[in-house]
């Protein structure tokens, strides 16, 4: 794990070496043309920067030499000194000394002594002659080579990393294809090569993914100020605790959830936490606690926003959902609290009593849902009235590869991202009931509606699905239970194929408007496999349920 001090040190070194190279280049130019103003300006600027950076790092001797050279180049630029005679020698010696000092810093060694050099530079600045030692023996070739050093740090645009990731995605698909071919041909030599290719491309894929990871802290560290601002506007006392800043996540994922997290945090301060008076009255400590934490769970990254505020008033949300016509009063009465909370993430749904400046400008928590859907992430809500609320964003570590379950319907394979799958069940007819024309089963004390995936995918028209009867069920049913927005839905499939990591490619036009499919992937067999979009499937089912 890289600390900030290490990061600063690496940046300092990278830049110092770059400065040193430029200085040497400009010095050679100055040697040919002692009045070259651009070269003088550059040398002045480079010395100035090196001085400032070295002092910030605490390398005072290095800063001191750079400072003297800066002054000297300033004088030459202002034509109070000329770049000739003994001055040239001292300047070259000075830049060499800077190079040695920078390398000493890089190697973690003590800086070489620069007293004699500083003394000579001082003389030159004052307009006196420097004291030069006898001509030194020319450097050996080995020593000269030693100075040809490049920084071992590279800055790279995210765009270039995106490109690399796409190429790796393509490679992985071909790799799977070759692997399958090798197995089919049953050629041991080809199989051995294919297996080697498999391992190497696996390593490559993880290396590229690894290069894109950043600490969640780069986002979390922006929040102390946000919380302070919102809290002061709302006249609330809030203590923010951050944790898990070092948890690693893909940079683009972090970018995509920035607004969502901002919204959740503002929401927690504005609506979740009570005023000091209300808290004291409820017997709570005056200062509200807000925790922003990141942790890893299996392959996912969890980012949690936890407050010890008033909690979600489930009955108020239920009433509001009925008022807004999102659900009938009779259906609403049967919903458990998690199903009710799901309404909070409907577009435009806001529980704010009064619109404040900071949050609740008609923008609901649906922005959170949208961001997570686009990543194939999940949102978990836990809340207890009077005790507090925790929102958990479940995010993939990387956007490139997703775990998926391959299922078969009518001899075609489909992939369902694992993030949205709860479990697979093999149900006997006795475990299935028919309620209001919908097949249901009881699983973990919950009624889960079942729908043949075939019907959702192939049933034409916008009309409701046909009423289900017991006759539809013959023999054991293979059910994949998916979960979206705390709603469970059982998809009846013909069979389960296997679990596999897939690389999802977006559908090309004009197919990209079909929202039931999140994209397409190629299987090792070369077969095209559509990736199902669980949120869209769930919405379709809710719209078409009889």
């Amino acid at each position: 794990m890289k600390t900030r001090d290490q990061e600063y040190r690496e940046l300092f070194m990278a830049e110092a070496l770059e400065y040193y190279d430029s200085m040497s280049r400009h010095l050679s130019e100055l040697e040919r043309n002692p009045d070259a103003v651009p070269a003088l300006n550059e040398l002045f600027r480079l010395m100035h920067n090196l001085k400032a950076n070295a002092r910030a790092m605490g390398f005072n001797d290095l800063g001191e030499v750079a400072h003297h050279l800066e002054t000297l180049f300033g004088l030459i630029r202002d034509q109070q000194r000329t770049f000739s005679g003994p001055l040239t020698k001292v300047v070259f010696a000075g830049v060499d000394a800077l190079g040695n000092m920078i390398r000493a810093v890089g190697a973690g060694q003590p800086l070489p002594d620069a007293t004699a050099l500083l003394d000579n530079l001082d003389r030159l600045v004052r307009g006196e002659e420097p004291v030069l030692e006898a001509e030194e023996a020319p450097e050996s070739e080995e020593e000269a080579n030693k100075k040809m050093e490049l920084s071992d740090l590279v800055y790279i645009q995210v765009k270039k990393l995106d490109n690399l990731l796409n190429l790796v995605g393509e490679l992985v698909i071909d790799r799977d294809r070759i692997m399958t071919l090798a197995q089919e041909l049953d050629n041991p030599a080809l199989l051995a090569t294919a297996q080697h290719l498999f391992r190497i491309s696996d390593d490559l894929q993880y290396s590229v993914m690894d290069a894109r990871l950043v600490g969640v802290g780069v986002l979390l560290n922006k929040f102390p100020r946000v919380v302070r601002d919102v809290a002061s506007a709302e006249h609330k006392e809030v203590e923010l605790t951050l944790s898990g800043q070092d948890v690693q996540i893909d940079r683009n994922i972090l970018q995509i959830i920035t607004d969502a997290l901002l919204h959740l945090v503002r929401n927690a301060v504005s609506h979740g936490l009570e005023t000091t008076e209300q808290r004291l009255k409820a017997g709570k400590p005056a200062v509200g606690q807000l925790t922003l934490s990141a942790l890893t769970e299996r392959d996912d990254v969890l980012i949690q926003v936890r407050d010890d505020g008033r909690g979600i008033d489930t009955e108020a949300v239920r009433r509001k959902a009925i008022d807004r016509g999102l659900v009938s009063a009779s259906t609403a009465a049967t919903l458990n609290e998690k199903a009710v909370w799901a309404f909070l993430f409907e577009p435009g749904f806001s529980m704010a009593q009064q619109v404040t400046d900071i949050s609740g400008r008609g923008v609901g928590l649906d922005v959170v849902k949208l961001a997570l859907d686009s990543l194939g992430g999940q949102l978990r809500v836990e809340s207890e009235l009077g005790v507090g609320t925790t929102f958990t964003l479940v995010l993939p570590t990387s956007i490139a590869v997703k775990g998926a379950l391959l299922v078969e319907v009518e001899e075609r394979p489909y992939a369902v991202p694992l993030l949205h799958t709860d479990t697979v069940l093999s149900l006997h007819p006795g475990q299935i009931s028919v309620v209001g024309g919908v097949l249901v089963t009881y699983f973990q004390e919950q009624t889960v509606p079942l729908v043949p995936l075939r019907l959702l995918l192939y049933d034409e028209g916008d009309g409701p699905l046909p009423l289900a009867t017991r006759d539809d069920i013959s023999g054991p049913q293979q059910v994949l239970v998916v979960n979206y927005n705390n709603r469970r839905l059982g998809l009846v499939v013909d069979r389960f194929i296997r679990q596999q990591n897939i690389v999802i490619k977006p559908l090309s036009k004009p197919l990209d408007t079909i929202d039931l499919f999140g994209g397409v992937t190629l299987l090792g067999s070369g077969q095209v496999c559509l990736v199902l979009d669980v949120p869209a499937l769930t919405r379709l089912f809710l719209n078409k349920r009889p």
Partner: protein, 128 residues
């Protein structure tokens, strides 16, 4: 809302350090410019509340940039950034509308104090 800051410095190291200090304190760093041309372009496109401006830049002196900035983005408050030895330029910058200056090497406390009070100045002017 969070005050928005543009950092102008030709050293990546300095920009990173400043950015970390400012974002840790809750400011939003809307851009980082490494030279005068970038600074002017970014000042126009990001309309920051405050600009930290290095006095010595590769293509221009910070002073020229300051004069241009004052014209295209008069609302933005400018704080000069400089290592010791450039006091003459800094003084001239203050005469040209810079609000304050930060001397490198700087401490986090000092930077936040100077930026904070420069922004305060911004608020009082607006409400006056």
């Amino acid at each position: 809302m969070n005050k928005r800051i543009l950092i102008v410095d030709d050293s990546f190291y300095m920009r990173t350090m400043l950015k970390n200090m400012l974002t840790d304190a809750g400011y939003e760093v809307v851009g980082e410019a490494a030279n005068g041309a970038q600074a002017l372009e970014m000042a126009a496109s990001t309309t920051p509340d405050l600009i930290t401006l290095d006095v010595i830049l590769p293509d221009n002196t910070g002073l020229d940039v300051l004069k241009n900035l004052r014209q295209i983005q008069p609302a933005a408050k400018v704080v000069m950034c400089s290592a010791v030895g450039q006091e003459v330029i800094v003084n001239e910058a203050i005469e040209n509308g810079a609000l304050a200056y930060i001397v490198k090497p700087f401490s986090e406390e000092k930077v936040l104090e100077i930026v904070g009070s420069a922004l305060q100045n911004n608020d009082s002017e607006q409400s006056a």
